[in-house]
Structures are given as structure tokens and as C-alpha cells.
């Protein structure tokens, strides 16, 4: 029995259990650690180094210092892609968040056929970006497409959408709204986590629907909104498939995203050093915005558990 075992024996058993634990843990983690070093950390460092070289598949690598970055800042096409990516991210993400939240608020009511509506709104998020792009290419078709036919009914001659350099980027943004279903589900889950007694208390205090929304729903939902917006921004900065398939960056480079620019430099012109510099600029932008967002979160995100610490 444990009570009779000597201290030495006890310590020894604890010790062997502990050694076994540590060994088992690292054994379990071994694949991930190897994978992380080989497929993430190694390539990450390598790509930073590469961005200081003029490098392609066939010629010898030449160290150019910050040369690639200097060239980038002077490359009008890169600057354009930067602007397009920023517009896409900063328009599509807030629009998408607002749409998702509005739908979630509606579906949080006890409306008949809830499961059906939820599925209808969510389904576009299940299919591939390629399928969405191919479908919307036809919907945006100026002659036979759905949108211009609908506009014709109300007497409007629609633009050429993805074939028109002013309308191409807005077209991609409109299309992105079709896939807000996943965000909608997250908001729905967030809404269902808000305790009803908060609403009841607010009601007793005489708060109307609007005030209950601003003073109960929004603060309680702010962690979900925060998380969603961060994830969506990171994804939006990397937009590629839509413009690659639908417009190939055109017309007149009006939908040239940063990743499409990178793809061309790396895999069509094999300028690996230059493309690595683009990747690092993209990475830096994403890190900056994520950190900025996390920093600002204490101003507007409300965590229910926080108060206890004060």
C-alpha cells in the first residue's frame, strides 16, 4: 500500500512517472516539431534571406541588400496592388461583418423554418472559391448575366461589371458577401451565449430595443466581432482566387491583388527574391494590423471575466 511505501520509493515512482510524461509528450509532439522546423520556421527564415537576394531558378544568387524592397516601393504595379488589396480588405470586411451580424440577429429570433434559413445563408460558404468565381463570372456577364437582366427590368442599363475597370473590384466585393455564412454562424453562436437575464434587467430599467442592442448585445458580442474581423482581415489581405479566375487581375490591372502580383513574379517570371520581398511586405502589413487591432481591443472589446481581476 502507498502508506507503507518508503519516501525513497515514493519519490522514485513520482520521478519515473514524470520522466515518462515528458518523454511521451515530446514523442507525441515530434511530428509537429519536425514539420514546424522543416515546413514553417526554416522556409520562413529562408524567405527573409531570399528577399535580400536577386534570385531565380537558373542564375546565381546575387546579394542586393534592401534592393528588392527599394525596387518594390518604386514599382507602380506593386503600389497599385497594395492599394487594391487595401480597398478590398477595408470595404469587404466591414460590409461582410455588418451583413453577417444583421442576418445573425434575424435568425436569433424564433422564426419559423430557422434550420432552412440558416442553411440557405450558410451554403455558399461550403463550396470552393473556384466554383463561386465561375458561377459569379456568369452572373456578372453584361449580356446574359443575372444582375444586368434584373437591372433591365427596372430600366437600368447595367455596367460591364468584371469587364469594366471601375466596376471590377466592386464586383468582387459584392461577390464576397455571398459567402458571409460562416461569419453569420459565429455571430449566431455568440448571440446565443448572451444570458437572457441581461436583457430582462435592461427591459426593467426601461431600455427600448435600440438601447438594448447598443448597451447589451454589442458589448457582449464584441469579443466575437473582434475575433471575426481579425480573421477576415487576414484572409482578405490574401485574396487571390477570385481575381485570378474571373479577371486575371484585369481589366487594366484594376483587380491585381498583392498575392496575384506575388504569384506572377514568383511563378511566371521566376523572380524568387523579388517575390519573397513582396511576401514579407504582406506579412508585415498583416502583423501590423493584427497587433494594432489587438492593442485597440481593450478600448472596445468587453470580456465578461475581466472585472473580477480589478
Amino acid at each position: 500500500m502507498a502508506a507503507q511505501s518508503s519516501l525513497a520509493e515514493f519519490v522514485k515512482r513520482r520521478f519515473t512517472q514524470r520522466t515518462e510524461d515528458v518523454l511521451t509528450a515530446y514523442l507525441c509532439l515530434l511530428p509537429w516539431i519536425v514539420g514546424f522546423l522543416a515546413f514553417t520556421l526554416g522556409p520562413l527564415v529562408f524567405s527573409l534571406v531570399l528577399s535580400f537576394f536577386q534570385a531565380d531558378l537558373f542564375t546565381r544568387n546575387v546579394f542586393v541588400g534592401l534592393g528588392n524592397y527599394v525596387d518594390l516601393v518604386q514599382d507602380p504595379l506593386f503600389l497599385k496592388s497594395l492599394r487594391i488589396t487595401a480597398i478590398y480588405a477595408f470595404v469587404s470586411v466591414p460590409l461582410g461583418a455588418a451583413t453577417a451580424l444583421a442576418v445573425a440577429l434575424l435568425l436569433n429570433q424564433k422564426v419559423v423554418g430557422l434550420g432552412v434559413w440558416r442553411t440557405v445563408y450558410y451554403l455558399p460558404s461550403v463550396i470552393s472559391g473556384v466554383a463561386v468565381a465561375v458561377l459569379w463570372m456568369q452572373i456578372f456577364n453584361p449580356r446574359m448575366g443575372l444582375i444586368n437582366n434584373a437591372l433591365k427590368v427596372v430600366g437600368i442599363e447595367g455596367p460591364s461589371w468584371i469587364f469594366d475597370s471601375t466596376w471590377a473590384l466592386p464586383s468582387l466585393i459584392i461577390m464576397s458577401l455571398w459567402a458571409v455564412g460562416a461569419n453569420m454562424l459565429l455571430y449566431l453562436a455568440g448571440l446565443q451565449g448572451i444570458p437572457t437575464h441581461l436583457y430582462e434587467a435592461a427591459k426593467i430599467d426601461g431600455a427600448n430595443v435600440g438601447r438594448r442592442f447598443w448597451h447589451v448585445t454589442i458589448p457582449m458580442l464584441s469579443p466575437t466581432i473582434f475575433f471575426n474581423v481579425v480573421i477576415s482581415l487576414i484572409a482578405a489581405f490574401q485574396f487571390f482566387t477570385q481575381s485570378f479566375i474571373m479577371t486575371n487581375g484585369g481589366p487594366n490591372n484594376s483587380t491585381l491583388s498583392m498575392v496575384l502580383f506575388l504569384y506572377r513574379k514568383a511563378f511566371q517570371q521566376t523572380r524568387f527574391g523579388y517575390a519573397s520581398a513582396v511576401a514579407w511586405v504582406l506579412f508585415a502589413i498583416i502583423i501590423c494590423f493584427t497587433l494594432l487591432f489587438i492593442r485597440s481591443s481593450s478600448l472596445w472589446v468587453y470580456y465578461a471575466g475581466e472585472e473580477r481581476n480589478e
Binding site: 515518462e20 510524461d21 515528458v22 511521451t24 509528450a25 515530446y26 507525441c28 509532439l29 511530428p31 509537429w32 516539431i33 514539420g35 514546424f36 522543416a38 515546413f39 526554416g42 522556409p43 529562408f46 531570399l50 442576418v103 434575424l106 435568425l107 419559423v112 445563408y121 450558410y122 451554403l123 455558399p124 460558404s125 461550403v126 463550396i127 470552393s128 473556384v130 466554383a131 465561375v134 458561377l135 459569379w136 456568369q138 449580356r143 446574359m144 443575372l146 433591365k152 460562416a182 461569419n183 454562424l185 453562436a189 466575437t224 471575426n228 487576414i234 490574401q238 506575388l262 514568383a266 511563378f267 524568387f272 519573397s276 511576401a279 514579407w280 504582406l282 506579412f283 498583416i286 493584427t290
Partner: protein, 290 residues
């Protein structure tokens, strides 16, 4: 007293009438949005069964007088969609196997075992989720090209046998919901650490394994960027690349294109309908996009 009775009466009346009008009001708000989301699907279905002349008609004909089901068969054989389907099944299946094996082990270590460096390593896992993949893309391409892996499935499969951050995170969250007392009891009874994982935790977290499998299968099915980078020959293409190749053909009829777009989405949609409960649960728990 009187006023109390009054309020009781009013709320009673509300209980009868209010819900009806409330439902009506809600439906008026829900229906237009839902139709906007649904119409592209219906249009795609309608277009896929049309003959060429009908497609260019304005105003559009929603229900073609004859629905040409043979469009699907013709398009299927025009592109090599059978090959694309087989490739996609293979790639997605291997992804799921690789991710399950490696991520279950890592998640177990993070959730259940105390060891030096655990917290730092877990932060590393979380931060890799935020990493844009473009930043490792070019070195990986160069490495895989040195290894002679370009134009093989290996770059799409092998890395996943080394764990996937999302799946590790998700499985860890699930493991944490299961009481530790079960582990301790098994350990006291002389069970080894790994025995605890296979005999206690895994049988209890089958739904979590299902969520991980379903998500990763769907993601792999929909993946475009990675195969675009690594695969050149059409006989290796997954369905996304196949569809892209199909558009690229000089004179492809729109109805054929729509038919194959529908065909390419059948598996993810089918998976979603069959496993809706797991699907939604998984999205909610991890907070990630489907």
C-alpha cells in the same frame, strides 16, 4: 390590483396575437435576403439544363421547356472530370489521414501532459495559424523542386502528416472538455500515458475526430492555390484546377460550365447536409471559417 389585471389581460392578448405578427414581420425581413442568397443557385441549376439559344434570351427563361440533363454527361466527358474526381478524393483522403494521426498526438500532449516548454510551444502552434502561407511558399517550392516533388501529389500530402495547427487547436479544446479524473484513474490502474489516449480519450472524442475529418476533407476538396503551384499535368489535377482548366478552353458553352460547377460542389454540399450537426458545432467551437 386593477392595473395588474389589465396588464395580465394585455399580455394574454399579446400571447395570442403577438407571435403571429411577429412571425410575419420576421419572415418579411428574412425572405428577401434568403432569396438573394438562393437565386444564384437556382440560376446555376436552370442555366445548366438550357440549350445555347435559350441562354442568351432576355428576359431570362427560368424554367427551360426541356431540361437537358445530357448537358451534365456531355460536359463530364468533355473535361476529364472522372480523373479530377479521383484525384480530389485521393488528395483529400490522404490529408485527413495525415492530419488525424499527427494532430491527435500533438493535441493530446498539449491538453493532458505537463512538460517543460508546453506553453511556449502552444503559442507557437497558435501563431502559425496567423501566418500567411505566401511567406513560406517560395522556399517550400524550391525545396520540393530540389526533391523532385513538383508535379506529384507529395507537396499536397506529406506536410500534413506533420500536423496541422487548426486541427491541433480544435482537438485540444475537445480533450480539455473531458474530465481529467478519468485519466488519473486509468494511470493509477497502471495504464500508460499513450494508453490513456487510445483507450479513454479517443473513444470519448469521436465527434471531435469527425469534425476534424469533415472540415479538413472539405477544405482539401476546395483547395486551389497549393495544387495550382505544384501541379502541371492535367491528369493530376483536382477538381478545382480541372474546373479552372475547363473555363480556359476556347469555346466552352456556358451550360456545360455551369453543369460542371454544380458537379464540383456536390461532395462538399453532400457532406454538409449529411453532417450538419458536426459541421456547425465545429465552426462554433473553433471560430473558424468553413
Amino acid at each position: 390590483m386593477n392595473s395588474m389585471i389589465d396588464t395580465a389581460l394585455i399580455s394574454n392578448a399579446r400571447r395570442v396575437w403577438h407571435p403571429f405578427f411577429r412571425q410575419l414581420g420576421l419572415l418579411v425581413l428574412v425572405l428577401p435576403g434568403a432569396s438573394l442568397f438562393l437565386i444564384p443557385w437556382l440560376w446555376m441549376l436552370s442555366t445548366a439544363g438550357k440549350e445555347t439559344a435559350l441562354i442568351w434570351k432576355t428576359p431570362p427563361v427560368w424554367i427551360p421547356p426541356v431540361y437537358h440533363w445530357e448537358n451534365f454527361i456531355k460536359a463530364w466527358f468533355q473535361g476529364d472530370f472522372f480523373v479530377y474526381y479521383l484525384n480530389t478524393f485521393y488528395i483529400s483522403g490522404m490529408n485527413v489521414i495525415g492530419i488525424l494521426i499527427s494532430s491527435v498526438l500533438a493535441a493530446y500532449a498539449f491538453a493532458r501532459i505537463r512538460f517543460p516548454g508546453r506553453d511556449i510551444l502552444f503559442v507557437v502552434v497558435l501563431s502559425t495559424m496567423m501566418l500567411p502561407r505566401q511567406v513560406t511558399l517560395i522556399p517550400l517550392y524550391m525545396i520540393f523542386s530540389e526533391l523532385g516533388w513538383i508535379n506529384t501529389f507529395k507537396p499536397l500530402i506529406v506536410p500534413l502528416f506533420f500536423g496541422d495547427a487548426f486541427s491541433i487547436f480544435l482537438l485540444r479544446q475537445f480533450f480539455l472538455t473531458i474530465s481529467r479524473e478519468l485519466d488519473d484513474a486509468a494511470l493509477i490502474d497502471g495504464c500508460r500515458r499513450l494508453g490513456v489516449l487510445f483507450r479513454i480519450l479517443l473513444p470519448l472524442t469521436r465527434p471531435a475526430l469527425a469534425v476534424v475529418a469533415i472540415f479538413n476533407f472539405t477544405w482539401a476538396w476546395n483547395e486551389f492555390f497549393t495544387p495550382l503551384i505544384y501541379l502541371d499535368s492535367p491528369k493530376l489535377f483536382p477538381i478545382t484546377l480541372g474546373l479552372h482548366r475547363f473555363i480556359g478552353r476556347a469555346q466552352i458553352d456556358i451550360q456545360f460550365l455551369m453543369a460542371m460547377t454544380i458537379v464540383s460542389t456536390l461532395i462538399p454540399i453532400g457532406i454538409f447536409f449529411l453532417t450538419q450537426r458536426y459541421f456547425i458545432q465545429g465552426i462554433v467551437i473553433t471560430g473558424i471559417k468553413g
